[in-house]
Symmetry: C2
Subunit: 206 residues, 2 copies
């Protein structure tokens, strides 16, 4: 069962471990959304875990034939660029989002550049695929990324929505196309819960 | 691209979302180890993300032919039972570990039992596989689970080792068989860094 360490490129392993050490910083990048069972904001690392768990639990609602392995890997790396670029609210203006996208490109260069080049290119490609949203895998991961944030807000009585001035109309307009494109069942469920949340006054007033 | 939500079992989806909501509690289960770039303990959710990222980054050191998808899924669910059972230090006594194993079995019943039965059984099987350590996938996930904790300690000057009275001999005795069985290259690297850490006085005194 043991194999010899001989022949392993220790420099390669060191680059990989340096990337994994740097990735630890994702645990300090705070999101607007809150955790459901404690009085604090969620960080990107625990969000990424929750997203990956959602992907594996809800994959039956994705387009048939989706590649679950690639989707999980996308979920695990999709926010790493925020170590350098920071988190931007999904409801930011187009100008803010363009600036964020530019910061994220530079961040991807630096962070995935810590890895050995062949591996850095493969992981960078996963991040680019997630951002481009042109494959079923990327669309599903993105839809659940949005759904995760909405569910956290539903579990915390809309605290982040009220704080950021987000109305139910904003939530529907931003998220319906993304989630519906990946899973009609999931959108139907969320849409019903948004209506309940509105009745309870969990959104900012329009 | 859209498919009809018609025909989806909403009760099934609700069970899955209830499981995913309950899983949020993993973000409040604190480990002994610390995060590398902030003054606080690490929680199980961010640890699980870090472990999954390690699995995908270091899979080339595992036994050839390992099933990466199953290994990642194991990494994502391996600590969920600690929501009910709590975290136990790897250096606990045999009696404490037996009590912990019993608590974890009950926790697995309850937590994976929130899911639809077919899916709950599949995810429970991943957890059982991780615990049994009889497959290459489980051995690799377990080895990296141990390596992650050691690396966090190396990145924080052994804070948790000193606090828990852990000596370098304890670290070597507990972890060498587990990590070496999965990857000689990784153990060789860690072993060298343990020697450096010892020279710096980062362990409890024997």
């Amino acid at each position: 069962m043991h194999r010899e360490a001989r022949g392993v490129d220790q420099g390669r392993l060191e680059r990989q471990l340096e990337f994994l050490r740097e990735a630890d910083k994702l645990k300090s990048i705070l999101r607007r959304s809150r955790v459901s069972f404690a009085d604090r904001r969620e960080n990107d690392a625990e969000h990424s875990w929750h997203l990956a768990l959602m992907v594996m639990t809800l994959v039956e609602y994705a387009e048939p034939g989706i590649d679950l392995l690639r989707t999980l890997q996308m979920a695990l790396v999709h926010d790493i660029v925020e170590i350098d670029a920071g988190d931007t609210i999904a409801y930011a203006s187009a100008a803010e989002q363009a600036a964020q996208a530019e910061r994220e490109q530079a961040a991807a260069e630096r962070l995935f550049g810590l890895l050995p080049p062949d591996q850095g290119a493969r992981i960078r490609a996963l991040f680019d695929e997630f951002e481009a949203r042109r494959t079923p895998e990327a669309r599903f991961a993105r839809a659940l990324d949005r759904a995760q944030a909405i569910l956290q807000n539903l579990h915390t009585a809309g605290a982040a929505w009220q704080q950021s001035g987000v109305t139910v109309t904003m939530v529907r307009e931003l998220n319906q196309p993304t989630i519906l494109a990946a899973s009609a069942a999931l959108w139907e469920h969320i849409d019903g819960r948004l209506a309940e949340a509105e009745a309870r006054g969990w959104f900012a007033k329009g």
